[in-house]
Structures are given as structure tokens and as C-alpha cells.
Amino acid sequence: MGALIFYLLAALTIGSALIVALSRNIVYSAFSLLGTFMGVAGLYALLAADFVAVIQILVYVGGILVLIIFAVMLTHRIDDVAVSNRSVGRLPAALIVGAVGVIMSVGVVGARWAQKADVQAAPTTYGIGDAFLGPYILPFEFASVVLLVVLIGAVVVSRKEIREETGS
């Protein structure tokens, strides 16, 4: 049963990812990203990471995907069919992609992974909150500072600059 769900989610994830990477229409790419994010969220749930799965949907689907669709709509004329983009350098790209895939497959298949005996699926929220305010307090605070900087930086970068004639 678990294996069947895994294969379905894997097919959803990889199929959508292929559409993202190869589709000629950028709007199809943007919306296919939804399938990838939801598939990965389902895999997190299958791996007993309930909180991570919910946060994946909230952050990626609710935040990043909406931002990307905004960017697509703002940078392209929707009625313009030529929004698709040509691919260049297929041969070197194929070589690099093949090398990356082969190296990772050899590493994954060849290694002997350690496994803890009978891991129980339990709610993870308690442990996550405990770790964030315990041993991981410094990276946690650092991440919040990074997010604040990003908030200000995005506003500064994307605003329209208005020069004053008499000022400064």
C-alpha cells in the first residue's frame, strides 16, 4: 500500500517536473510547479514528516508559486505566443545532465545506508519546536534576520525610483 502511494506520488512529481523543465509555454511551466510541490508534500507525509508537509504547502504553494505566477504575468504579454523560449546548447547540456544523473545513481545504489531499527511514526511538532528553541536557536534567529533583510531588499529592488528635482 505504501509502495503504491509512493509510486503514484513519484510519478506526479517527476511528470510535473518534466513539464516545468521542458514545456514550451511558460504558463504551463508555472502551473506544473504546483504538481511537483504537492507531490513532494505528499512524499513528506509518507515519510512521517507531517509538519514539514504542511509547511511545504504553505510556503511553496502559498508563497513561492504565487510569486512566480505574478512574475510570469508581469513580465510577459499573455497574448504573445512567443513567450516560449528556445533551447540552446543541447549536446553539452545532455552531457552534463547525464553525468550528474549517473554520478548520483552510482552513489545512491552503491552505498550501504545505516538504518535505525523500527522507527515509529509520531507527531513531529513537539520535537521541532523543542529543537528550534534549544540547540538550533542561533540558526533560527539568523533565519529570521535573513528574512527581514530580504523583506526590505525586495521592496528596495522592485520599487520604481522617483528622483526629486530639488531634493538631496
Binding site: 514539514v52 510570469v72 523560449n85 533551447s87 545532465v97 545512491v108
Partner: protein
């Protein structure tokens, strides 16, 4: 329970598709989406290892990766919009102002 090598192979395939997107496409927004695919692939292997080792650390690192991805999305898309306003294009081949 599905063995961890299946999850890692899936993660590797997802990462490879992301590399393919970055290398093959010239639209900066698509390159951006492919980078998100790669980040998701890495997150998937982190969660798989957290499950495998019965440890919480992998899931915690996923949160930091997600916050960095959100930061990257906000700033990156702001930069893309700003470039589009100035240059009227998001094609990576035409953005050659800094090319030597």
C-alpha cells in the same frame, strides 16, 4: 516502508531535471523554477534521511532551506521584474550588459 534508496533515486531524478532546466532554458523565470526543483529534491533527501535515522535534524535543516528558498524567491523575482522594466526582456542571452 519504502527503502531509502528509492527516495534518494527520486530525489536524484528531480535534481537532474532541475539541472536540465537550468542548462536548457534561457528564460530567467524558468531557470528560477528549475532552481526551486533542485531545492525540493535536496529537501526530499533530507526528510528521507531523517526518517531513516529516526532523527529530527534532517527535518530542521529542511526549514532553513525553505526559508532561504523563500528569500531567494522574493529577491530574485524582484530583480527579474526590475530587469524586465529596464531591458524589456528576461532572456538570459540578451542580458549581456556585464559580459566582457
Amino acid at each position: 516502508m519504502v527503502p531509502i534508496s528509492y527516495h534518494l533515486i527520486l530525489s536524484g531524478i528531480l535534481f537532474t531535471i532541475g539541472v536540465m532546466g537550468v542548462l536548457l532554458r534561457r528564460n530567467t523565470i524558468i531557470i528560477f523554477m528549475a532552481v526551486e526543483l533542485m531545492l525540493n529534491a535536496v529537501n526530499l533527501s533530507f526528510v528521507a534521511f531523517a526518517r531513516q535515522l529516526g532523527s529530527m535534524d534532517g527535518q530542521l535543516i529542511v526549514f532553513f532551506v525553505m526559508s532561504v528558498a523563500a528569500a531567494e524567491a522574493a529577491v530574485g523575482l524582484a530583480i527579474i521584474l526590475s530587469v524586465f522594466r529596464n531591458r524589456e526582456t528576461v532572456n538570459a542571452d540578451e542580458l549581456n550588459l556585464m559580459r566582457w
